[in-house]
Symmetry: C2
Subunit: 411 residues, 2 copies
């Protein structure tokens, strides 16, 4: 048996742990060749493969892989066309699988990537192909349905909460009579999971964010400005978290107020940026207060140096369980997490029909947002806290975390 593994979409801190899990379980099950797609399905269509054995027969490299951010195999943002009228693209995938005697294709990614798994397994079913296709969940956005949570989220949440805690320390240190208003922009186009993680900063040693604006709630400039003014007379430091995806009641994104010409990617998603800068300028203009805008940008999905050990282990497990399930004959499914117990935290995996998952977005439940619409309830904290627990110490060489890099990325 031979298999191929691909990574797709925006990277995370632990997507490499997922493919480490697939690899390790494959070898345990006696899989002969484990191929990697160089740059996901886009590279696969050009027959760009790497031999994962050449990197990972030495187990130290598996440990480095767990500590390497982003997609080791390379990623892509390639949307499979609809089958009808584009059979040639699908035939090409199967032709390359057959050329290398590949029995199973694993794809680690989010909503868009699961669509690829769905289309390929549908095509196989319709054309009597025996190859299997399995999805491995990955997204910092945590917006895949059915599964309790997604690998990648816990590490991003840990980084966001840690960084915000550090920024709050910084902002609180100044003793000016009027506070600096610091606005932190966090990723998440439609789902506020990442921004919600700002709520985790609060604790015995930190008063936390003063307001948290999720995209699940319509954003209102007047309300926002009134909140800032109220906070600024009561507090010596004001720190506010906003999702890049906050939008007005008419659906217009706040970042579009700053820049009408927001770029659009291959999936038709607008590329957000500049929400915090726009709001900080608006606050400065309206109140005269000193402001600061911080955009966590790609740092929040790449900070493997601060990854959650729970997340790393679960990513690894999801890869291993995807391998086992496909080996056992499953296809057209994705590994999901099922929380068996909250306290102590216990979480198992299962597999689930990809048709129920692809292209569906799971948002933060409205009942987990506080009545004032500017915070998260204890239910959210109880949900998220276990996901950020534990650390995996980086291997430091010359003062910096050591990564493992695939030479084929640069060919």
């Amino acid at each position: 048996m031979n298999i191929v593994v691909g990574q797709s979409g925006g990277p995370t801190a632990v997507i490499n742990s997922s493919i480490a899990g697939v690899y390790a379980q494959a070898k345990k099950l006696g899989v002969e060749h484990v191929y990697g797609m160089v740059h996901g399905i886009e590279g696969f269509l050009e027959d760009k493969l790497c031999d994962m054995d050449s990197y990972f027969s030495d187990p130290i490299n598996i440990e480095l892989l767990k500590r390497t951010p982003s997609a080791f195999l390379g990623s892509c943002r390639f949307k499979m066309p609809k089958i009808e009228g584009h059979e040639d693209v699908y035939d090409k995938v199967f032709e390359i699988m057959e050329k290398h005697n590949i029995d199973i294709l694993f794809y680690a990614g989010g909503n868009d990537s699961m669509d690829t798994v769905k289309m390929l397994s549908d095509y196989a079913a319709a054309h009597g192909k025996k190859q299997r296709f399995m999805g491995v969940p990955k997204t910092i956005d945590n917006d895949l349905p059915i599964t309790d949570h997604c690998p990648g989220y816990g590490s991003a949440a840990k980084y966001i909460a840690t960084s915000i805690k550090e920024v709050i320390r910084d902002n609180e240190s100044f003793g000016a009579k009027k506070p600096t208003v610091c606005i932190i922009e966090i990723m998440g186009r439609n789902a506020g999971w990442l921004t919600a993680a700002a709520a985790l900063a609060k604790g015995d040693d930190c008063s936390g964010c003063d307001a948290i604006y999720l995209p699940e709630v319509d954003f209102n400039m007047d309300e926002f400005m009134a909140t800032v003014k109220d906070l600024s007379v009561r507090k010596s430091s004001v720190v506010i978290a906003v999702s890049e995806g906050v939008h007005l009641a008419d659906g217009k994104y706040v970042c579009e107020l700053a820049n009408e010409n927001v770029a659009v990617d291959a999936f038709g998603h607008k590329q957000m940026s500049g929400t915090a800068a726009f709001l900080a300028q608006a606050v400065a203009a309206e109140t005269g207060l000193k402001t600061r805008a911080i955009e966590l940008s790609t740092l929040q999905r790449a900070a493997t140096h601060l990854a959650s050990l729970t997340d790393i282990n679960e990513a690894f497990q999801s890869g291993a369980d995807a391998m086992q399930a496909a080996y056992d004959g499953h296809t057209g499914e994705m590994v999901i997490f099922k929380r068996d117990s909250q306290n102590p935290y216990e979480c198992g995996t299962a597999t689930y029909d990809i048709h129920e998952i692809a292209n569906v977005e799971k948002k933060v439940p409205l009942e987990w947002i506080t009545a004032d619409k500017k915070g998260l309830t204890q239910e959210y904290i109880n949900y998220a806290r276990p996901l950020i627990m534990g650390e995996l110490t980086p291997v430091f060489v010359d003062g910096l975390p050591r990564h493992i890099v695939m030479k084929e990325l640069f060919d």
Copy 2:
């Protein structure tokens, strides 16, 4: 003997280690009361003091202090007025010192803060006052003269190099035919030390930044655009580091090209921001390439979770040695670092006349900038590498680094 310690200016990841060093050495020498200024000299002038013994008689809290970012005691951006005509302000400082029987005042900060030490020690000398004043170096900017380097720099450099390495991983993972151009903005108004740290990302496992623009070199938009275009046809990922302080030959800051109305702080310094966003927009408009702007903002001075152990230990040492020197009778001086050996790295301390230090900025030597003006030489790497070595594991509670917070900050 009683002493008081204050922190001033932009915080760093290790300025708390400096005051930990003052405190620990003071207790060793039998100092009775160690007071802290709440919000630096600004709070001191209002007699806002805290009792450091109430926090640090338990040594675990010293360990937490080393792991807490920003200024535990609170900071300020207060400029002492010139003595002539403002004797009342100076008299007030001595009145408060005398009220609490304070013999020595320690002030941890950068150029502006050392000016405060100079003015106070000058006033004491001119008026026959016996109190002593000692500076403890602190600045992520690394721009204090005489000293080999400044506590705070090593940790900021470690964070910058680590984050850039992670961003490079992220940017490299995409397999688009045209690269994403990622522009990372790093602090440093006039001195490029922090931006230079981007050069540390390069290693066996990382190709490093493609260009590094320091404020020591005049910035030229045409040259920059030509560099980006050249890189974009040769490489599948382009990552460029720019100082927030890059400026055109006529002295105009690049960030002023984006925003004419740059705010100015109490010291007359312009508040920089938006350089990367401006350059990214310019590149997108000129080339049609996908761009991303990342501003490391206050994250780079607050990321104690990734502090350099060398830096923490040296900050602690500089505080302890300041205490010892003042105890021995020194005044009007700052602790400096003297590098005795490069390999192995060995660095001692001494004290130095504050008049030679206050208000003087040390820039990156031009001979450490490569001939193409877009990189750093091996001499810089040799200088900076030892400063980022080692780590001090945070104490994680509930998945996040634990801090110690002074309740008087919120009174």
